[in-house]
Symmetry: C2
Subunit: 258 residues, 2 copies
DNA sequence: ACGATCGTATCGTGCGCCAATACCTGCTCG
DNA sequence: CGAGCAGGTATTGGCGCACGATACGATCGT
């Protein structure tokens, strides 16, 4: 449970305990999304049963929790509304959508837009390819920045110290046997991304998958996200894939920058 | 702002005011997703500036709000995590994903999975078609049940009185000139859906679009969602579209039921 | 029949939140 | 140039909301 410390710290006296607890309850489902009883919620969040009851009832009344068939509580549909509002509110996503649709038509492969969020990277928009058979590539998924091509392409636009700092704070756990977890290996990819203008990764997050990504920059030239193109190694060699799609990703990312 | 009244009412004494207010703040962005100042938030939610400040700081610290460039507050990326958790937690979505992917490969048109939520219908999964050019079809979008093919296909599985009740509670505002807003017109479509096993709608939500949908039922034979297939009227005549895709939608919905 | 665990309900107390207020800063006016 | 406004930030005393212990009936599995 990273506390999002430092970046946006807040005066303790302005911090609402009950609101934070309510968020704790919702976040408790991140670890295991199964329905939970009041007792489980209390245990998972470290609050007592009474508080869990009150928070549960409140979130239930508002639709952020729902009764499960089992009698327990599950996450509620209202959460989708809030994430919809977020997607609408983000100007990058608004202007990215048509560009990404066009890109997918052109490339014919899966296109993702990821948002750079420090040590992790969030897939915000996912446009499946025609022959996609991989399991649930849901929007909202987070991937560690250090092993995603999108994260590395963003790091390529950061100062060396900032990259080092990010990598030090990352929990560098491998997702596949091919995941690069050692600092020199990752730095090598970051430098490559700086030279080439994009980054690529083969089977570092998912076996059989090759991805390349180019960073999207804001008006201060800071990376805010990346455009990904993902394909299957059963259909492409890595050199062919890079040669064919890297110009497309770079061009799309450039169009979305600033 | 429907209050989700009745369905899950709650003892007032267990209702946490500050949690509800925090949710009010997040929901305030639904009306207009632009960044808001503390004053705007206070005005939009009916709380005073002090409370808005405290709630804002708390949600900011947790990542559910972020500072906008302008200095105001916007929705935060953390909202995407919660909606991701919801999607993972919903068993229908889990088992639907591979089926829908297969369906899209087969149909070649846009596929949606919607969740039936009383007077409105939420698009939970959206698989774009190759030639999709329509503007941003984001997941989490809500459409009134009465004019969506998915909503009507769900109504077809409800008792007459329940349908009447739902329609009476709906705000039957047209989205396009072709939207059916009068009760007899809607009932006609519901009866048609009962007879055919699916429902269709042409240009009732979006000009140039034809959609058909079949309901997904739970173990109690209650409708919980629908499988949609959407195409463009520039490519299909309505009879051709119905003839070709209705069996696919019905079959997929049946596979997902129970 | 039983203990365990579920959700629900009650209640007195304490402290966490309330709202008013003041402060500082950067605007945009006249 | 200074008044005026709206922005975010910080402080405070007092009230009332939320706290947590506790108890209740229902439903399980044994």
């Amino acid at each position: 449970m990273t506390k999002t410390a430092g970046a946006n710290a807040v005066d303790e006296r302005l911090f609402l305990q009950s609101v934070a607890r309510a968020l704790d309850v919702l976040e408790a489902f991140a670890q295991s999304p199964r329905p939970k009883s009041l007792g489980e919620i209390a245990a998972a969040t470290g609050i007592n049963k009474s508080a869990a009851q009150r928070i549960g009832q409140t979130l239930l009344a508002r639709g952020y929790l729902e009764r499960a068939d089992s009698g327990g509580l599950t996450l509620g549909r209202k959460l989708l509304d809030r994430s919809f509002d977020y997607l609408r509110s983000n100007p990058l996503i608004e202007r990215a959508t048509p560009v990404l649709m066009e890109l997918r038509k052109l490339a014919g492969e899966r296109i993702d837009l990821s948002l750079f969020d420090d040590t992790s990277t969030i897939y915000a928009i996912r446009l499946q390819s025609k022959r996609e058979t991989f399991y649930a590539t849901l929007p909202g998924r987070r991937i560690p920045s250090f092993l995603s091509s999108g994260g590395r392409s963003c790091m390529a636009h950061m100062a060396d110290e900032a990259v080092d700092d990010l990598l030090m704070r990352s929990n560098r756990r491998a997702l596949t046997p091919k995941s690069r977890t050692e600092l020199p290996q990752i730095w090598e990819k970051v430098r490559e991304a700086r030279a080439e203008g994009y980054s690529w990764a083969a089977e570092e997050a998912l076996i059989g998958e090759v991805v390349l990504a180019a960073a999207v920059l804001d008006s201060d030239r800071q990376p805010i996200g990346a455009v990904h193109i993902a394909g299957s190694l059963s259909e492409w060699s890595i050199p062919d894939f890079r040669r064919r799609f890297s110009p497309l990703a770079i061009e799309a990312a450039r169009a979305l920058s600033v």
